[in-house]
Amino acid sequence: MTATRTAYKWVGTRPVRHDGLDKVTGRARFGADFATAGMLHGAVLRSPHAHARIRSIDVSEALAVSGVKAIITGADLPELDDNQVEGGEGNATYRDLSRNILARDKVLYEGHAVAAVAATTLRVAEQAAQLIRVEYQVLAPVLTIEEAMADDAPLLHDDLFTSGLDSPPKEPSNIAARHVTSRGDPDAAWEEADLVVEREYFTKAVHQGYIEPHAVVAQIGEDGKGTVWGSSQGHFVIRTLTANVLGWDPGDMKFIPAEIGGGFGGKTTIYLEPLAALLSRRTGRPVKMVMTRHEVFRATGPTSGTWMKVKMGARKDGKLVAAQAWMAYEAGAFPGSPVGLGVMGIFACYDIPNVYLEGYDVVVNKPKVAAYRAPGAPMVGFAAESVIDELAEQLRIDPVEIRLRNAVAEGVRAVYGPKYRKIGLVETLETARDHPHYSAPLGPWQGRGVASGWWMNYGGETSATVNINSDGTAVVMSGCPDIGGSRASLAQMAAEELGIDVHRIEPVVADTHSIGYNDLTGGSRVTFAVGMAVVSAARELIEDMCSRAARMWDVPPEEVEWVEGRAQSVSGAFPPLTLEELAAGSARTGGPLSATNTVNPRGVGVAFSTQICDVEVDPETGRVTILRYTVAQDAGRAIHPDYVEGQMQGGVVQGIGWALNEEYIFDGDGVMENPGFLDYRMPVASDLPMIDTVIVEVPNPEHPYGVRGVGEVGIVPPLGAVANAVYAATGKRIQELPMSPVKVLEALSSG
């Protein structure tokens, strides 16, 4: 299937989204908005220690509180083996996932769940949780990669042996895995370089920062079957994970998706779901659990803090000849950081013949990391794009130009192996270079930085159904939660195919019992993969309708064509049959009009973004102000440009927060000091300018409308772009994020 038309009626337009009215009137129901009769409320007791052995848990006093109906601890969950969790994002084994839901022998971070209580009110549940007596043997916490990798480091897991070493290790360690990728001979190639820059970088753990805390209501019946309401980035996956952690059959639970108040990767795994389900099973009552913001920060996955060493060599003409990187990512309490994607992504924008990459997955006493928008890529982008900026400066080459001279394009082999197909990095660079922003004048203490970024995107298992109602309206069903406008884009593609008004189509996010399996809303995949399934289903319907018309007219099917919502006879011998007419008469022509398509598509395509950032630095206080920001991103084709721009803008602003002020701060005992929005400083509206967007369209040949994933890559370049701008404004290269005023002022007063 390839794009055959370029002029569309619906694709590329900006209709009001179908779920919009509910969302501006307060009617949309998010995770915490559901309640049901007889409902109990659950609360979680969490560890006050970052690292401790659990000697004993005594729930008797808590159980005796009036209104308390059940208490569960780790002992109530089945022991699971080391099978890798599939379908979720972020790597974990079921054994670890289960231990993250409720601690067994040890607590591994402050906020680690130890027990869960169900009671008649939330207040009673919370008070009872405080009456659970846990005896801890407090252990030394391991809080940085450096500490964790030290030979004499306290061990989080006695049974963790590093994988990926040249010879199997004899001793356990905090290093879960080593990933190596290489090509060519970088050791020999350094000699070809006229300039080699080698630097070290650090980034802190940062949180996805979705505004809606995790929330779920579970109602499990006496027969062990039941219903779970809640918000997630994929109710099918969440159901599978929940069932497997409990040792139940996934099919026994119907998961009904609520509207989701942001996820950015953080709602691709489970925290409360098994607790609520098990408490409901124990009590025979529905159980509601909602996290507080403190819990969200302390107990759900941030992304990794990192330590990176990068070395790149270039010839005088700017051509990169060799590059090398060593990177270590915090996994949190259990193995499974996105370091593998860091290894893939660090030099993925560039055609470099000699490369050596080494990545380490390191456990520390912090919450287990979860996926966060382009997992693993923004940090390495910070490092690599900073080094390239230095090379450009020292070689006196324009920073966009040096990237153009090395940019990957169709047919070039990616550092991680495969050859790129049609991609748009060069186009985003050229767009940035030619944008008025790039040549606009700057004042004193102002500076401009550019950076590019790569993200691979994901296809995934997908089902979609298109039903035609008897009035000629249509329902488009998918099983992927709509997190940023995907209902609209799916309806637009269906409208384009069926030739009917986009608002005669109702897009629905169906529950697990109403549609076939769907992977997560993640990997920038929904408009791409679900779009493919919707288009295929719509085309199957059209074929069906054309063949019905052919039978009614008694002509061969090839003499009927579908034009603008009508079956037309090619010869013109019959008056056309509209969709409405075919729908109204479907009972007499073979029954309901409906088509379902399932795909597990290839061809998702790779996304690139190039960004320009202007900052002003206050030399007396170190404050960095973002003055102007422009994003050029390859979207393949934008189905609904508003929401493509929105993804670009949102990704950029998360990246700006990461670059300037966001960080997990721990005290010496490993207790998080800023588990709230007051001191975990996400950007507010007054911190920012408008974020200018240029949607570059290099259609993805593998998608019927040329779609590429657009959700993630926008967050990859900002870290480098802001750092390069700060350098341009101050002459100081800051190699540690966040570039908070304290660090900038320190840098300004050094040397």
């Binding site: 990933h179 994607l341 996926a371 997992p375 050859k419 197909r421 296809g459 290839r602």
Partner: protein, 80 residues
């Protein structure tokens, strides 16, 4: 002949071989052939991510191969 590329992690089992040509019309046939060349590699391949002709393919072991297909075995990874 499909061109097969091995990640560093697999090169321990291939005796350092980084790439080779294999006559196979499907991924299953490819796996059988590789197991003959490098006994024990089959198990490792199962946990690797597979890219066929440039795309990471979730259902890789179900896929057919073209005569000029490129197959990459990559470290298992997670997306966002």
């Amino acid at each position: 002949m499909a061109q097969v590329f091995f990640s560093n992690a697999l090169q321990g089992l291939t005796g350092g071989t980084t790439e080779m040509e294999v006559k196979a019309s499907s991924m299953r046939a490819l796996a059988r052939s590789l197991e003959e060349h490098f006994p024990g590699i089959g198990l490792q391949l199962k946990s690797a991510a597979v890219a066929i002709d440039g795309d990471i393919v979730p259902s890789a072991w179900w896929e057919t191969l073209e005569p000029d297909s490129e197959v990459h075995f990559l470290p298992a990874i997670s997306g966002g």
